[in-house]
Symmetry: C2
């Protein structure tokens, strides 16, 4: 009677959420300090002070009816203009104000973009390892999500990618820095990818859009994060301030349609229509203005880097194998016997909570979210040691 | 190539938005004070002071990582508990905390609920006159929206309603106080409606859910607004704080599934699943907490009442015919020749901006949104006078 697709999605929480709830119960039982909870990608560092300062100063200075009133469906003009200017300044790329559409965060950006571009019968490609909700958001549009196998280092495998493109492929989702691997794809790799997309678009007679999902753009530990619209014309950026400003609960982000994208005006109209149909009237108005004042601010990501370094050093010394993360706050740890599910289960006995890489398309791994306190990382090392000993 | 359904929705703005843009251009040309813009339902009165006070006090006292962090997908537990308590206190009705799901406003509430309940082949009924976006949100779920003709006073016509129910009807949307008529349906009428729904549910062998869209609940000028879950068990309330607290841009509201509704636990799960699939991760976290502190606060709605009284008095004296509004901030004005479209067009010549009732299912009327300054109403009367003279 009810919509079974949505009922199933609601009943079956994601594996990660399931594990998070397990960790919560365990903490209540044996004490928070005895549980090493690496399950969720929930920012552990505070927003920059300028965020709360912006909130208070706007509440004090802006007319309340305006401040909390509807903005246009695309978002406040001045906010979009500020984003356009910041993209020019950061990447020397002209992204017109009217190509930017404010959203309630990255999940909204992706769902709206996928609905605008796709319909039943279409295929959307992604790259393993990938964020599992891509499959859910793609299904909402009626299309099917197919993740392409990566290479041994879990980087993009261009040969596999090229082979996967057929006439049903309408869009490709790319995510760099990557959740769950922390990989930042190199400019060289992205250029080659763009070339394949150009050739295939020509060959198939329709554009293949590249959806660049960028919630972790600002979280890089030194490596440059190439700006995709400068590499491939048919690009739509889905940006979120959740991680850069540590505001995941406020649901604020944007979609930017490259002005060089094929039929970009209509893509933008279809995004407006999809946003309307999915029930998004406008992005939260106060936070639109808050982020416009904080486009060059970033939370203290050096704390994530400190965590990464401690985690990588510790795990390496213990003899673990893993993918070295360039950015974001995730690490894929390889299971000694190649079975991530087993490692995740075994780890629970040692009070280490980390989901299997299975749902990310990396079944030989578990994912460690290291957006936790530094102490959690240091204190977890003895448990990681005894965990590894189980394999000997 | 793009999704044509969404492209069309994006290209073709609603008639109301179209007219609003016309008014904006006209104001720039001839001066704001010379345009009587009754096009949009955008609250004109400020939020209660307690809203901005709550924002500042929370920013000062709550840990920023928590304040702006993810809440659970259903919404923060304490926020939902506060809403549950307020419903108990206001309506003496037990709405469990776990039957409440926080949303990004009324449009999100409706879209999520419709997707949870419906699929292709289903029908959703509404009552003329109705908010035109109901058709858009219903289409997103795959179902079809069919509005039922009202009686001569634009109240619910129970005979027409009963005749419209067939086995494809999965849900009915009701909106009281009503946009665009301002009508508040009486307890007597609602009881009779509930009886029809009970009988038909039994006859057809499946529950018919009643979706109560309540953005205007607090805007009543004396008449009681009956609480629907106390009248009909299979009720799902879609509430929004946009109008009661004058926060339309902040996108905050909730869905409450009556615990007496058939299969209520699964309805709630399907709502969680639909919310996830439509890209809603959680409702904005700061404003979840702000509204929890303001559940008994209301913006100065007596100002809307003052507007209504001035508008009704003025129009009556001039000789216009209209539906007297009990609540909300809309009035349906009857076209002297029964053609609302003509009246809307003619009015533009007199710089009065009001959309035809056509898209609301009331083609003999135009809709006046009187959430404007009091002066706009008073100053518009000479223009209304000359407008009416055109018909003589």
């Amino acid at each position: 009677m009810l919509n079974q697709k949505y009922l199933n999605l609601g009943v079956r929480r994601s594996d990660i959420r399931e594990l998070f709830e397990y960790a919560k119960a365990l903490k209540a039982e044996i004490g928070e300090e005895n549980v090493f909870d690496f399950s969720l990608g929930n920012p552990s560092i505070a927003p920059p002070n300028s965020v709360n300062e912006s909130i208070k100063s706007m509440v004090d200075s802006v007319n309340a009816t305006t401040l909390h009133g509807y903005t246009s469906a695309q978002g406040d003009f001045n906010v979009r203009k500020a984003i356009s200017d910041s993209i020019k300044q950061k990447f020397d790329f002209f992204m017109p104000t009217d190509n930017i559409y404010m959203t309630c965060g990255a999940a909204a950006s992706l769902t709206i973009t996928l609905c605008a571009l796709c319909q039943a019968g279409d295929t959307v490609l992604g790259f393993k390892p990938y964020f599992p909700e891509y499959a859910v958001f793609t299904q909402t549009s009626g299309a099917t999500f197919i993740p392409v196998d990566g290479d041994k280092g879990l980087d993009i495998d261009l040969v596999n990618f090229e082979k996967s493109i057929n006439k049903s492929v309408k869009a490709v989702i790319i995510n760099s820095p990557n959740n769950p691997s922390g990989k930042i794809y190199s400019l060289e790799k992205l250029n080659a990818l763009a070339q394949i997309l150009c050739n295939k678009s020509k060959e198939l007679g329709h554009p293949i859009y590249l959806i660049s999902d960028e919630p972790y753009r600002e979280i890089s530990y030194g490596k440059e994060v190439p700006f995709i619209p400068a590499i491939y014309d048919n690009t739509i950026v889905c940006y979120s301030f959740s991680k850069s400003l540590s505001l995941p609960g406020e649901r604020i982000g944007y979609i930017a349609v490259s002005p060089k994208a094929y039929d970009s005006q209509n893509v933008y109209y279809a995004i407006m229509g999809a946003g309307r149909a999915l029930g998004y009237v406008c992005a939260p108005s106060l936070f639109q203005r808050v982020i416009a004042n904080n486009l060059f601010a970033v939370a203290a990501v050096e704390l994530y880097q400190k965590n990464r370094d401690a985690l990588c050093d510790g795990l390496k010394k213990l003899g673990y194998t893993f993918i070295n993360p360039d950015g974001a706050f995730y690490l894929l740890l390889k299971a000694p016997d190649g079975n991530g599910k087993n490692l995740s289960d075994l780890a629970k006995k040692h009070n280490i909570i980390m989901p299997s890489g299975e749902s990310f398309g990396a079944p030989e791994y578990v994912r460690i979210s290291y957006c936790v306190s530094y102490d959690t990382i240091i204190n977890s090392m003895p448990a990681f040691k005894t965990l590894l000993e189980e394999y000997k």
